[in-house]
Structures are given as structure tokens and as C-alpha cells.
């Protein structure tokens, strides 16, 4: 069965590219353009990984990560952000994200990191 990824990003170009690349890699991809619709998607679907930006309309990336950690603690999260400040990255890891990718990003590298995070032990737990 295909693994399902939720991509939360408000830049249409990035969304389309991620969707295209991840579909090519054999994943099921669902996209959300803001935190609010991401929460709705999380209530109605099961995901194997979440790929999210930090700067999102309505609900910020940090609020969204808190929500996911509280309600879906076993889904791995990868942050994809333009932020390069150490405190932002450290804060994201403190909140429990599994990986942090800075923009501009290499699509091939991203695909590898997605594969690694999906195969992580924590995610194995969520399957059980």
C-alpha cells in the first residue's frame, strides 16, 4: 500500500513540485495550502508523513506542529522552510520535528529524507 504524505505549503509552485516529485517517487500526496485545511485533512485521513512550511496563513507552522504532536504524535514531521536562523531550527527540533530542510532545497535530497523519515522507527510504531 502506498504511503500517504500531507504537504502543507502556501507557495503554489513549491506545492506542485513537491506533489509531482513525491508522486513520481510512488507516494500518495495530499496538499493543504494553510494550517486550517491541514487540520481538517488530519482529522479525515491517516498520513505516514507530514511535510510542512513554518510560515502559513491562519495557523502558524509552530501552532500546527504543536497540534500534530498532541493529536497525532507518531506521524513524522519534516519542516521545509526558508528560515536559516539557528534558534528557529532548534525550536522546531525541540517541538519534536524529525527533520528540517531549508529552502532552496534539492528535490532529490528531499525525496531521500522523506524516504528515511517514513522508514523511521517511530513511524513503524504508528503502523502498529
Amino acid at each position: 500500500m502506498k504511503k500517504k504524505i500531507l504537504v502543507i505549503e502556501d507557495n503554489p509552485m513549491v506545492v506542485k513540485s513537491l506533489e509531482f516529485k513525491l508522486l513520481k517517487e510512488g507516494y500518495d500526496v495530499v496538499t493543504a495550502i494553510d494550517g486550517r485545511s491541514a487540520m481538517e485533512q488530519l482529522e479525515n485521513n491517516h498520513f505516514d508523513l507530514i511535510l510542512t512550511d513554518l510560515m502559513l496563513p491562519f495557523v502558524s507552522g509552530n501552532q500546527l506542529i504543536e497540534y500534530i504532536k498532541k493529536n497525532h504524535p507518531n506521524i513524522p514531521i519534516i519542516v521545509l522552510s526558508t528560515a536559516t536562523q539557528e534558534d528557529i531550527i532548534t525550536n522546531a527540533f525541540t517541538m519534536g520535528v524529525d527533520d528540517f530542510i531549508t529552502k532552496p532545497f534539492s528535490p532529490n535530497e528531499l525525496a531521500l529524507r522523506v524516504k528515511r523519515s517514513i522508514g523511521s522507527f517511530k513511524n513503524q510504531l504508528s503502523d502498529n
Binding site: 507557495n11 506542485k16 509531482f20 516529485k21 513520481k24 529552502k103 532545497f105 534539492s106
Partner: protein, 350 residues
């Protein structure tokens, strides 16, 4: 053409009134038509842009990630069917820039390949050779963002461009494209650098990946703004080896250069400057005097501060306040005593 009799019979005042009404009516109709035309035209443009953006995203994604994509044929087909007008080329360039901004690694090279494949390089060169400043600036920006080689004689011609935006984009391009001499263009600068341009150069240097230049090379430039900028950079980049040159600049004839020299040396915490500053204090203007006081507060001694007090004039109220603040900073316990001392030294009895 015969004029209807009821118009001929009208009094002349009414006739003028009628003609003017007609003229204004025609003007109003023309204006409304023009607004409507512009609106409709803009809507068509926006619709075309939106449609083309979707097609471009789909095309670029296929080009980037679809191994079965017939690149040569598809690119020709796309040019033939979609990239017909200047607007189309502008939209394609903009979309490729968005990709370049967000993707790196192997994708960057592919994005450049698409740019060349679409024939947008010729479009860019065309823009560079146009008279309109916004086309030149846009082309320079695209070349900078996509890391493209463009004829250097063309870029050099913009180093002293009258338009600030064009000039800034040229600076950014030259810094970004340089491998070993990012500020080499300063040798060709003949018009003063504005503060905003200096900020742009400074920011450009922050993303420069090579070895930072030796800023002392431009300390004898004929333009004050270039010298001031390099004095600032010497301190920002901790080029301590240039302190001896900067010490000589404390006696420079140009006030702006002296001022920046003091600030830079203070930032580098060079105590060798203090005796020169103390000696020069009485001859300096209030702005430089204030910088000297701040410097004495940061890296000087209380005695050195007291030695300049007699040269603070009665009307230099701002300096007197600064002096007392700094004196308190150097000797936190003796505020009252400092004020009395100051009054004695400066002969300023309340």
C-alpha cells in the same frame, strides 16, 4: 451638410452651451471607453498570465522530474504554442525565477537549461540593450538570480548608470559573479555611492562565497563615499592589519572620512588612536567631538576624558550632556563629583 434650422435659430449663448455639452459628452464617453478597455485588457492579460503559469509549472515539473519527458520536442512545442508574446516571455522568466529561488542542486542547472531552451537568454540581452531603466534592471536581476554569464562590457556600462535601481542591480550582479574580486567594480565607479547603494553592496558581500576582499585597496579612492564604505567594511570584516593606515586617516582633511575612521577604529578597539583623538579634539566639529567622547567612554581612561573637557564649548550643550554621561559611566560612584569637576575644568559655573 445642412444644419437643422432649429440649431441655426438658437441664440449664440445657447449654441456655445450646446457645443460644449456635446464636447464634454464625447470626452466622458471616450474616458469611460478607455477605462473599460484598460480594465478588459488587464483582465485578459491576467487570465493569460494565470493560464500560462499553470502550463509552465506543469512543463517545468515534467522537465525536472519526469524521466520519460521528451525534452527537445516538448520544449519546441511549448515555445511554438505558448511563448509568442513579450508578456509570455516575461511570465516564463518570472516562473523560472521562482523555481530558481526555491530549488537548488541538480535542479538549478536544469532550470538554466530550460531558460536557454525557451530562448529567454536573447530576450534578456535584448532588455539589457534597451533604453528603459526597468527593462535593464529586470534583465540584470534575472542574470544575477539565475547566475548567468552576460557580456561584461554591457554590465560595466551600468556601473555609473543614472538610475539607482539599474546601478544597484549591476553591483549585485558583479559581486555575485566574481570569483576573486567582488568589489573590482569600485575602480570604475565615478559617481558617489549613495547610502542605499552601500547597504546593497554590503548585503551582496554577505552572500559572496569567496574570500572577502582587502578593503584597504580602495582607501585612496577619489570618491569619499567609496573610502567611507571601505573604512566601514574594514571594521566589519575585522581587518586589523589595516589599523596603521586608519590611524593616519584620523588626520584626513575630509570630515566624513575622519568620522568613519573613528567609528571603525573604535569598533576594532584600537587604543593607539586615543592620543591622536585627544590631541585633535579641540580642532574638531561637534559631530566628531561626540564620536571622540563615545570612544573615550568605550576604550579610554577617565583622565583622558578629563583632558578634553576644557575644549567643550559652552554652547555645545549636547556634548556637555554626553561628557557627563560618559564620565558617570567611567566612574559610576562619582556622579556629583564629576559634575563639579566638569564645572571647574570648563569654567562653567552654574
Amino acid at each position: 451638410m445642412l444644419t437643422p434650422p432649429y440649431i441655426i435659430d438658437l441664440p449664440s449663448l445657447l449654441e456655445i452651451n450646446l457645443v460644449m455639452s456635446l464636447v464634454f459628452f464625447i470626452l466622458a464617453i471616450s474616458l469611460i471607453s478607455l477605462i473599460l478597455y484598460l480594465r478588459v485588457h488587464k483582465n485578459f492579460r491576467n487570465q493569460r498570465k494565470d493560464k500560462l503559469e499553470v502550463l509552465l509549472i506543469d512543463f517545468i515539473n515534467n522537465y525536472l522530474f519526469n524521466e520519460d519527458f521528451d525534452k527537445p520536442n516538448e520544449i519546441n512545442r511549448f515555445i511554438k504554442n505558448q511563448l509568442k508574446t513579450t508578456l509570455d516571455k516575461k511570465v516564463a522568466t518570472k516562473q523560472l525565477l521562482v523555481y530558481a529561488e526555491n530549488l537548488k542542486g541538480e535542479s538549478s542547472a536544469v532550470i538554466k537549461e530550460i531558460f536557454y531552451g525557451f530562448g529567454l537568454y536573447n530576450f534578456l540581452i535584448q532588455d539589457l540593450t534597451q533604453k528603459e531603466w526597468y527593462r535593464q534592471a529586470r534583465a540584470l536581476n534575472v542574470a544575477y538570480q539565475l547566475d548567468m554569464d552576460i557580456p561584461m562590457d554591457l554590465v560595466d556600462s551600468f556601473i555609473n548608470a543614472k538610475n539607482k535601481e539599474v546601478r544597484q542591480q549591476a553591483f549585485l550582479y558583479l559581486i555575485h559573479r566574481s570569483t576573486d574580486n567582488p568589489l573590482g567594480f569600485l575602480d570604475k565607479v565615478t559617481t558617489p555611492l549613495t547610502l542605499w547603494e552601500q547597504i546593497h553592496i554590503e548585503n551582496g558581500l554577505k552572500t559572496y562565497e569567496g574570500v572577502p576582499p582587502d578593503f584597504s585597496r580602495w582607501l585612496y579612492h577619489k570618491l569619499t563615499s567609496v573610502v567611507v564604505f571601505n573604512l566601514k567594511m574594514i571594521a566589519d570584516y575585522n581587518q586589523y592589519q589595516h589599523i596603521p593606515i586608519l590611524l593616519k586617516f584620523l588626520n584626513h582633511k575630509d570630515l566624513e572620512i575622519r568620522l568613519q575612521t573613528i567609528i571603525s577604529l573604535r569598533k576594532m578597539e584600537a587604543p593607539e588612536m586615543i592620543p591622536i583623538l585627544v590631541e585633535n579634539f579641540s580642532k574638531e566639529n561637534p559631530q566628531i567631538k561626540k564620536e571622540i567622547l563615545i570612544t573615550l567612554g568605550e576604550i579610554g581612561l577617565e583622565e583622558q576624558l578629563k583632558s578634553v573637557a576644557p575644549f567643550i564649548l559652552q554652547e555645545e550643550l549636547d556634548l556637555r550632556v554626553s561628557y557627563l554621561k560618559i564620565a558617570r559611566h567611567l566612574n559610576p560612584g562619582g556622579a556629583k563629583e564629576e559634575i563639579d569637576d566638569f564645572k571647574k575644568i570648563t569654567m562653567l559655573q552654574a
